[in-house]
């Protein structure tokens, strides 16, 4: 191994964040775990450190508190080589239809917060000359559907942001990865009936992200390749037909 690299995982208390952190730690990276649940972060940090023997530090962040992002980045012991944002909020679609405050929280948690945070790290990475940025978005952002379009719209915004960012910074030493997982078996989807062939385990998402970001240098991944096909079909449906579907 050459010098020790560092990954920052924002959303470190989620099943996916934990899996991403473990994939990096297994490859010998030191880990910075960030999130809003201090006790939960300590639990994950101890787990990763004990399993792998790598150093793990924890850092407080609320993705809705955008004004505190600069101080958050300043407070990190080192500027990480890679930052992964796993933060997201599914919310409740039906509630968001009439409760503007709830809709706002969903939009800000999935788009505004993660986009501004990754944008801020992009500037610091540019100043340094290198860095990798990974945003976990969603297939829900590819076409608005009745069942989750507030969440989907925010993810669409996030996906577009990452695309534009990549377009701007990839010539300048940075690498931007958009992750659009299909279904994942996590706390977010606990209790839902998910089709087994379309559903990934968090661990698979963790390793897929590490591989896409650090070894294959991919731009956009779906984790389970079958999703590329599924979404191509969904995107290709003419709106006159799509509007009559129940998805």
């Amino acid at each position: 191994m050459t010098e020790m690299k560092t990954v920052l995982v924002v959303g470190g208390t989620s099943d996916v964040g934990r899996a991403v952190a473990r994939a990096y730690a297994a490859a010998g990276w030191s880990v910075q775990l960030a999130g809003r649940d201090a006790a939960g972060l300590e639990r994950e940090a101890a787990d990763i450190a004990t399993r792998t023997g790598v150093a793990v530090s924890v850092h407080a962040i609320d993705i809705l508190d955008t004004g505190a992002f600069a101080a958050f980045a300043d407070g990190l012991p080192v500027l990480p080589d890679t930052v992964v944002s796993v933060v997201g909020l599914l919310g409740e679609q039906v509630r968001a239809e009439t409760d503007a405050a709830h809709a706002t929280t969903v939009m800000r948690s999935n788009f505004e917060g993660p986009a501004l945070l990754l944008g801020l790290f992009a500037e610091r990475f540019l100043a340094r000359g290198h860095g990798t940025i990974v945003g976990v978005s969603s297939v829900a952002g590819e076409r608005g559907r009745a069942s989750n379009y507030v969440y989907g719209a925010a993810k669409a915004g996030f996906t577009a942001f990452l695309s534009g960012l990549r377009n701007r910074v990839s010539k300048r030493g940075l690498h931007v990865v958009t992750v659009k997982p299909g279904f994942i078996r996590t706390r977010m989807t606990a209790g839902m009936k998910l089709p087994a062939r379309l559903t990934a385990d968090p661990q698979a998402v963790g390793t897929a992200i590490f591989r896409a970001a650090e070894t294959q240098r991919r731009d956009v991944i779906y984790v389970k390749p079958v999703w590329a096909l599924v979404m191509a079909i969904i995107r290709a449906l003419p709106e006159t037909i799509f509007k009559r579907t129940k998805l």
């Binding site: 006790a39 787990d47 004990t50 399993r51 792998t52």
Partner: protein
């Protein structure tokens, strides 16, 4: 959530409410006010120990590790962490658990609650002997630190206590340093039961020992076996040998058993053929020493996913008893002969030498333990009840982690620590609140 649960033997199956907390802090609220509840680990106990009378509390989600001290080998983990995860994380760093059962798909909580024994019980004691401390949640929400110094009474009752003293949330367990992931194995051939017992008794200095008995051999060959002795191989011992890596070859998942084979597959002939082949194969290598990787050595069955399905839809029971050392030689032939005559024994007839027990209800005592699988079919329960009488009369007992059918009388005869255990349950207000199908059946 209402579900049907069974143990590894798939007998019996019972309906229960299932709750699945995701962290230690989430457990108290989820168990508050419940009666007839019991903890469940990874469901590898064979019978009904991990099925709640009303509620089953899966603690598999408590799967975070907390701390490891390489200087002392003490590892602190939440109780739902599995042995497989521990070996995966620590063997490459030169540490192995002090005691392991025959499968790695068990949780730390389950290993403490059953005080599991490995092939080194005669020398190193049970899993509970290598637990420094545990965090125990009582049903009323009290969280207690238990060790040999603190809440010692509860500590000793919890080791081997089958979940009936509370929910183990976390524990500190001993890891031992090893230089490699390989075992130096010596195989001895025993031609009779007496031979088998003698060879095991003579091998008390060996770190690991176990005998695989041909469960179908009769007459002069009754109880013939292969006795395997093992030591952790050192780096130097590995040096000359042709082995790929220091910590053993990577995981190789064997083919699984995807569906329930028709019940007839496991008739006398298929098992006899298997046993004969196994015996020949082993005997050819007997006397020689060879290096065996940690997986096939400790966890030979883990390579076959879902092997418990080969016994068909009705499931099977594992019959495991221990006999006092002085009584084994005269009782084992009778028991083995009955089993051989019945003809439905498994390829799994394992005899081990046990040392002194740890907890109040721990299974092991100075003696010999025989374990074998028997397909659930008409007549089996009556047959085993007869065997029970012989075992109990000789001062033996049955292993609760394998049990699915013993009577309250058999249990009471075999476990003299029972009165104290009941007394502790009464004093801590656990009666009625913590109860499994097992505890109900045997009157605990």
């Amino acid at each position: 959530m209402n579900v049907e649960l069974s143990g590894w033997g798939r007998y019996p199956v019972a309906a229960t409410d299932l709750v699945q907390p995701g962290s230690p802090d989430a457990v108290p609220a989820m168990v508050a006010g419940r009666t007839g509840a019991i903890a469940r680990g990874n469901g590898r106990a064979y019978g009904d120990a991990a099925i709640g009378e009303e509620t089953t509390v899966s603690l598999r989600g408590l799967d975070r590790m907390r701390a490891f001290d390489p200087a002392t080998g003490w590892l602190t983990v939440e109780a739902g962490v599995t042995l497989a995860e521990i070996v995966e994380a620590f063997l490459p760093r030169g540490f192995f658990p002090a005691v392991v059962p025959g499968t790695q798909f068990v949780t730390v909580g389950g290993m403490i609650a059953a005080d599991v024994h490995g092939k080194n019980h005669h020398r190193d004691g049970g899993f509970g002997d290598h637990v420094a401390a545990l965090e125990l949640l009582l049903p009323d929400g009290t969280r207690l630190a238990c060790s040999r110094e603190q809440n010692a009474e509860l500590f000793h009752a919890t080791i081997g206590g089958m979940g009936l003293t509370g929910y183990i949330l976390a524990a500190t367990i001993r890891m031992i340093p090893v230089e490699t992931g390989w075992i130096r194995q010596r195989t001895l051939v025993a031609e009779t039961v007496a031979d088998t017992v003698r060879l095991l008794d003579a091998a008390q200095d060996a770190t690991y020992s176990v005998a695989w008995i041909d469960g179908l051999a009769r007459g002069a060959a009754l109880g013939r076996s292969l006795v395997y002795l093992g030591e952790h191989a050192t780096r130097a011992e590995l040096g000359g040998a042709q082995v790929p890596t220091r910590f053993g070859p990577a995981a190789k998942a064997g083919p699984g058993v995807p569906f329930d084979l028709p019940a007839l597959t496991l008739n006398r002939f298929s098992v006899a053929a298997f046993n004969e082949a196994y015996f020949r194969l082993g005997a050819a290598k007997a006397g020689s020493e060879r290096l065996v990787g940690w997986r096939p050595y400790f966890f030979p069955l883990d390579g076959v996913a879902d092997w418990n399905r080969i016994y068909g839809r009705n499931g099977f029971v594992q019959y495991q008893f221990v006999l006092p050392a002085a009584r084994s030689a005269d009782l084992l032939p009778d028991l083995l002969d009955r089993i051989a005559r019945r003809g439905s024994a498994s390829f799994l007839a394992v005899l081990k030498r046990l040392g002194r027990g740890g907890g109040l209800l721990s299974f092991p005592f100075e003696g010999h333990t025989l374990a074998l699988d028997m397909k659930m079919e008409p007549g089996l329960l009556a047959f085993l009840a007869d065997c029970d009488r012989l075992v109990a009369a000789a001062g033996g007992r049955l292993y609760l982690a394998k049990d699915a059918r013993q009577t309250r009388a058999t249990f009471e005869a075999g476990y003299p620590g029972l009165d104290r255990f009941r007394d502790i349950r009464r004093r801590y207000g656990l009666e009625g609140r913590l109860a499994s199908r097992l505890s109900r059946r045997i009157g605990l």
